[in-house]
Symmetry: C2
Subunit: 309 residues, 2 copies
């Protein structure tokens, strides 16, 4: 069996980094030869997590085919979110909690998707099904990913499986989730140190919707004013990204993690489809408030997908 | 939770019928409200299996959206192999052992694919993981599906998981697999009673390969002469199917289940791609012998896919 690389999506968040490490560890225990890598540097939140548990960041790769013939994907499946030369390697395994789209294989493969809040929740169950113990530090990373993806279980993407997994992992890692989790989320919201480009694109993902290239970024904060006091710079960065990468539309979702409300900023066209998606008009500053919206996957992409169809 | 339909692919084989019944049973035990249905009548082999274990055939449906909003797919995922109005319903679950292609969802879903010989093998493991007993008749159906898909474990698609599942199911069903299995396979090869159209299209699947619509049928036999003594009629049926359904190319794989060799018959164009795929020329009768080839999925579709690219 030749070596395989395991990685999450571009612009990695905590789950993308952690799920790669966890799935690689599990697969190696099961007899595979894998290395967890990443498609970008860890963000501030993920660095806080890795430092807290004394775990190294995965090596960053730009391409895969120069190293291996086969890869395993975690926390994504859409080709445009994956490694640039995905079509030159064979995907043998996927563990994911997103919709399936723009994904195709020539051969049967191992694919596990579950409609839960976090890839690390699925992996927690896989360790149990395979009767393999989760080391304490890895449990700490995995519970951090669940805190991150579900905003401390407050996101509507949260399921009973996420709550169960978080409880089990907290016990293994011996962590007080509530106090650790809030510190961790706040560590990810130090926006002052970030450039406008980092802020709009640091966590962004691309989607093909109704023939349009749509880029959707999300930034967590404890004060929306920290984001929109910089709106002119953000809009310029989004405009540049659109023209530089051929995106038609750039959406930035700024989410207040304390009260679970978001404000959406839109640059590009067609803007009216965004208005249709959410049933309200953009204001004169191309913004709309979205109370209760915290999940790009569950509360932004589906209405947009429908509106584009 | 509203009712969902569970079904396998069009032109159902034993696994498509059985996996729908087995997954529906499992999901109902887990609290879902499902009904196993089928996208066509059972073939001769499947009827033998259902009669042997005293189980009814699933109800045949033409469309799903007139009955339900949500469906679960087994033993397939490609839209062109599924119910005709698939785009009008939401796929919530998939259990499959094929490649993923031409499949897309707007929402996260539950998807389990494993690169094994039979969907019923995957389901056998799921029952165990969920600590749910398999009733004896259902175990008999499921082992029949494994015998059918792996040709009594002789197909190159066979994995250790298939062997293990077959052993476990035989014990539950209290069946001598070798003698029962051969009787069952032979029951599926009574070709004399079948029309030319049944024979070429009864088990056929459609594939989009390099922009061409390719139809691939397979017929099992204990004597290839039983098939090719009727070649003129078969070619006529394939030609009619091509023009009636817009297929570019129709391949019929006739497989001798006793010695695991096949003969391929080709109608339509481009024939040279087929020759490239298998590295040999078609003879004057548009046939080529493929010794050791018994698996459409593993030994026919992949080389064709490569040749079309």
């Amino acid at each position: 069996m030749s070596k395989e690389l395991v990685f999450g999506h571009q612009s990695p968040d905590t789950d993308a980094i952690v799920a790669a490490k966890a799935f690689s560890y599990l697969q190696n225990q099961l007899g595979f030869d894998t290395e967890a890598v990443a498609l970008g540097e860890p963000n501030a939140e993920t660095n806080y997590v890795l430092n807290h548990f004394g775990e190294p960041a995965p090596r960053v790769i730009k391409t895969a085919a120069n190293e291996v013939k086969e890869v395993m994907l975690v926390d994504h499946n859409e080709a445009q979110q994956s490694v640039s030369d995905l079509s030159d390697v064979t995907v043998t395994h996927v563990v994911d909690h997103h919709r399936i789209a723009n994904f195709q294989t020539a051969q049967p493969l191992w694919y596990t998707a579950r409609p839960v809040g976090c890839t690390s929740t699925i992996l927690t169950r896989m360790f149990a099904d395979n009767k393999i113990d989760i080391p304490a530090q890895l449990a700490g990373l995995m519970l951090s990913a669940i805190v991150s993806d579900t905003l401390l279980l407050k996101s509507p993407t949260t399921t009973d499986e996420d709550r169960e997994a978080l409880r089990a992992l907290a016990q293994i890692a011996d962590i007080d989730v509530d106090s650790y989790g809030l510190d961790m989320l706040k560590a990810g919201t130090d926006l002052a140190s970030k450039s406008d480009l980092d802020l709009v694109d640091g966590d962004a993902k691309s989607f093909d919707l109704g023939g349009k290239k749509v880029r959707i970024g999300q930034v967590n904060t404890v004060d929306l004013d920290d984001v929109f006091s910089r709106q002119a710079g953000l809009e310029e960065a989004m405009t540049n990204e659109n023209s530089g990468n051929g995106y038609d539309l750039f959406l930035l979702l700024a989410t207040n993690i304390l009260d679970s409300n978001s404000e959406l900023l839109v640059v590009g066209d067609p803007k009216n489809v965004v208005e249709t998606a959410f049933g309200k008009k953009l204001d004169a500053q191309n913004r709309m408030s979205l109370p209760g919206v915290v999940s790009r996957k569950k509360q932004v992409v589906p209405p947009l997908t429908s509106a584009f169809e």
